[in-house]
């Protein structure tokens, strides 16, 4: 029995140490440093901050709502039906996720959508549709169809069944997707900087401006704390909601989708086309701009300045593999702890793991600089980049696996225990098979988070290794028709690579998934 307890402790300790050393410790150090020289700004500054804070909040709420609504038809289609191109369509919606914001920004500007709130919201939907389709779709595809059919047999309309049965059952996944989209848009940086100009700024943009451009570290720290409080509040509400609405309905072991028939055929086609069209407009701009003679061939040649551009793909893949392995390991352990324990401690643990997603990249990056020279000097080391990626990727793994784990009825585990299975065996035979699909969805996100080079890495001092997004920035920041065409071509390659990786991960399955 003792070894069981130690085993549980170890499972809890690994993610706790990870988040503690690579997130909480640097965060505390940098905030304390900023606050030690604290002074309050002038009234004009405060007026601007109130405006910035309000804008940050409402644009995030509206972006989240819009994303949920606009992604709903596609989510329904790919989770409920089997049709030719379903996997491809699901992979394609994930693709915008990796695009560097500068590339998306330039595509939007080229379309004439710039310096407006509309452009910012549209870009946020463009980036985040995948979060909803994949997070909600995973659960929806596995709801027991008997519930739906029973409702129909008892005379309820399709709409009533959706409203009273399906929607309540989907609530955990919808809340999970909404929380991620909210955090992403709450801390939106590049999109707002490029499409919002100076007029519209989020707290994230203002933190960057204060810390990096105006050297006002105390004010930046104050803003970072306001941002953290907002994020923590949203997350707290979310975890409470999640606990209250956790459903333990039996899930199917895996999706048994049917071919759409009758009017559903048309609806499925329309739903998928709608979403694909929405995301393909900006992508079409990229592709058009990349179609210059020699642009793709140029990626394989030694550019006199930046080297062979395509070599950055190797660096990106290496970082992405390391980051997603770390994220899955930490995320799965954390998810096991969160679902097993319940209660206040586990709620705060869950919340803390989500925080990096809602913390300003400048704060994390500068925190690394002041904190991570002890006990080993990790600053500017190779490992810091995949670790920073993993910090942002862990929440995806946790968010996709926890709802699925929660849906396992307690009796199933108890029955196994009564029959003499050890806790490890219960986990391996019951939790793991049910969760592996969800964990893989999380892994796919972790991979694309890293490929897209999210978050703190722009502010992390690092060895001179160019990833694809960095290479795209380098090409785009110099004049010349070839520079533009190659930057766009490399973006298209990044998109293609992402689609391939996501398709491949989607096909992976771990072992035989047993029914229960």
């Amino acid at each position: 029995m003792r070894s069981v307890r130690w085993g549980r402790l170890a499972v809890a300790a690994v993610p706790a140490l990870f988040i503690g050393y690579f997130f909480l410790y640097p965060l505390t150090r940098i905030l304390l440093l900023g606050l030690s020289e604290m002074s309050f700004g002038a009234d004009s500054v405060e007026a601007r901050l109130v405006r910035v804070g309000w804008f940050t909040l409402w644009q995030a709420a509206v972006s989240t709502l819009l994303t949920l609504v606009l992604a709903a038809p596609m989510t329904w289609a790919v989770s409920q039906f089997e049709f030719r191109g379903r996997r491809l369509a699901t992979a394609l919606v994930t693709v915008p996720f990796v695009l560097p914001t500068v590339v998306v920004g330039s595509a939007f500007v080229a379309l004439g959508w710039s310096e407006s709130v509309g452009a910012i919201l549209a870009a946020h939907v463009f980036f985040n549709v995948a979060v909803v389709v994949r997070t909600v779709g995973t659960l929806w595809s596995r709801l027991d169809p008997d519930l739906h059919d029973a409702g129909r047999v008892l005379g309820a309309s399709e709409w009533k069944v959706f409203r009273t049965i399906t929607l309540p059952l989907l609530r955990p996944a919808i809340a999970a997707a909404a929380s991620i989209v909210f955090l992403f848009t709450f801390t939106s940086f590049g999109v707002v900087l490029i499409l919002g100009g100076f007029r519209y700024a989020t707290l994230e943009v203002e933190i960057y401006r204060q810390a990096v451009t105006l050297f006002d570290i105390p004010l930046a720290a104050t803003l970072a704390i306001i941002q953290l409080v907002g994020v923590t509040g949203a997350l707290y509400a979310y975890t409470r909601y999640q606990e209250r609405h956790a459903s333990t309905w039996a899930l199917r072991s895996d999706a048994a989708r049917q071919q759409p028939v009758g009017p559903n055929r048309i609806l499925v086609v329309l739903s998928v086309m709608f979403t694909l069209l929405m995301i393909s407009i900006p992508i079409a701009v990229l592709v058009a701009r990349s179609l210059r003679p020699g642009a793709y061939a140029g990626l394989f040649e030694d550019d006199r300045v930046v080297g062979v551009p395509i070599s950055s793909a190797g660096n990106s893949l290496l970082f992405a593999v390391i980051a997603s392995l770390i994220a899955v390991l930490i995320g799965v352990m954390a998810a096991a702890v969160i679902t097993e324990r319940g209660g206040r401690l586990s709620r705060w643990f869950d919340l803390t793991l989500m925080l990096p997603l809602g913390t300003s990249a400048v704060t994390i990056g500068f925190g690394f600089i002041v904190a991570l020279d002890w006990p080993v000097d990790l600053r500017a080391s190779f490992w810091l980049v995949p670790i920073a990626h993993a910090l942002v990727a862990v929440p995806f793994v946790v968010r996709t696996t926890v709802p699925t784990l929660r849906s396992i009825p307690g009796e199933t585990r108890e029955a196994a225990r009564v029959l003499g299975a050890s806790p490890w065996r219960v986990w391996r035979e019951i939790d793991l098979p049910i969760m592996s699909r969800a964990a893989l969805v999380g892994a796919a996100f972790a991979f694309v988070v890293s490929l897209g080079e999210f978050g703190a890495t722009a502010f992390v001092a690092r060895p001179n290794t160019a990833t694809m997004p960095v290479m795209i920035y380098r090409l785009l920041s110099r004049p010349g028709s070839g520079s533009l065409a190659m930057a766009m071509a490399l973006s298209v390659v990044l998109l293609g690579l992402t689609a391939l990786v996501v398709l491949w991960i989607d096909r992976l399955q771990f072992g035989e998934i047993g029914a229960f």
Partner: protein
């Protein structure tokens, strides 16, 4: 006790051990991404051949982010040498005392106007922010290319000009400083901007948007954009199809010079090697590689420019610049005034 030859050798080796520590195997250079991006094995090969010391480059984001990282880590520096601090961030770096003094023997070879007697940093290169124009567009429109800033007040020019926002863009800030310098402080420069606004000038957040979305050469509506004096040669070097001459030109008034400096980070264990590296970067050998790698001008006046530069651009005449202290003190205020005029 008999002293064996072996012991002598051991003592000699130990004695040599101490100075060996002063000459490291590797020296670390922290630089902004746009410098780091063009570094390859060749970049510091001359330095390594001469001294036996390898150079490890650490990339640290944009110039502002890099200076902040250097300030935050000054008790335990990330590197031995920092390169790429410019006038905008210099006063922050000097206030925080992140550098130790170094006076290069090559300073007398530096182009006039770059070195201001500062003992802590050494100028390595400079770039001039200037308005670029689309040659073909002006030819077709049969419109003379403006030669004075004042001409831009006319709507015919203002409406085809794109500038970057001074709060979010480094060339945007430089161009705003040029207008303050040339048109005059007080209300004069603000009147100029009010005229530009009335004439329909276009303001965008960053250089990429100005150049690749707004510039007529890339399908936009502006035949003039704020860019660099080195952009026309870059157009030739990085063209998809070979060009005989640059498709863009530089308007040589209203330019603003940005200087990039290197400094030895205080706390380094190897100040001498760090000094040698800075001297190497100011030597003609290294300076002549600057234009085609970083598309800025060498600080050493003995360095020759490559042909593609001499044929397609000129180094604009130096028209003066504000001191780093002035920029640090007045920048926010100027930007606020600019915003009040342009967005009010």
């Amino acid at each position: 006790m008999r002293i064996t030859p072996l012991l002598v050798v051991a003592l000699l080796a130990a004695a040599c051990g101490a100075p060996a520590a002063e000459s490291p195997e590797t020296i670390k250079l922290i630089a902004h991404d746009s410098f780091a991006g063009a570094v390859d094995e060749e970049t510091f090969a001359g330095f390594t051949d001469e001294t036996g010391i390898e150079v490890e480059v650490i990339a640290a984001g944009d110039a502002g982010s890099m200076v902040n990282q250097a300030v935050l880590s000054k008790d335990n520096p990330l590197a031995d040498v920092l390169f790429g601090v410019d006038d905008v961030f210099l006063s922050r770096a000097l206030d925080e005392e992140i550098f130790v003094e170094h006076s290069s023997d090559l300073l007398h070879e530096v182009v006039n106007g770059l070195y201001d007697g500062n003992q802590f940093v050494t100028p390595i290169d400079f770039g001039d922010v200037c308005i670029n124009y689309d040659k073909a567009w002006f030819e077709e429109a049969q419109l003379p290319v403006p030669t004075e800033l004042d001409q831009l007040r006319a709507p015919v020019y203002a409406s085809i000009l794109t500038v970057e926002h001074p709060a979010t863009s480094s060339p945007g800030l430089a161009f705003m400083l040029a207008t303050i310098r040339d048109i005059g402080e007080g209300d004069d420069w603000l009147d100029f901007w009010a005229d530009l606004k009335a004439g329909g000038v276009h303001v965008v957040p960053d250089w990429d948007t100005a150049y690749y979305s707004d510039f007529t050469r890339y399908g936009g509506d502006s035949a003039m954009v704020v860019s660099y004096a080195s952009s026309p040669p870059a157009e030739v070097v990085f063209a998809t199809e070979p060009l005989d001459e640059a498709p863009t030109g530089v308007i040589e008034t209203g330019c603003y010079r940005q200087v990039e400096y290197a400094g030895i980070l205080s706390g380094t264990e190897y100040p001498e090697a760090a000094a040698d590296l800075i001297d190497f970067m100011l030597s003609v050998e290294f300076q002549e590689t600057i234009p085609l790698n970083w598309f800025v001008f060498p600080a050493n006046r003995n360095a020759e420019l490559p042909e593609v530069f001499t044929e397609n651009t000129t180094v604009p005449e130096f028209a003066g610049r504000f001191t780093p202290e002035t920029v640090a003190r007045d920048r926010d205020n100027w930007i606020d005034q600019w915003v009040a005029v342009m967005e009010g």
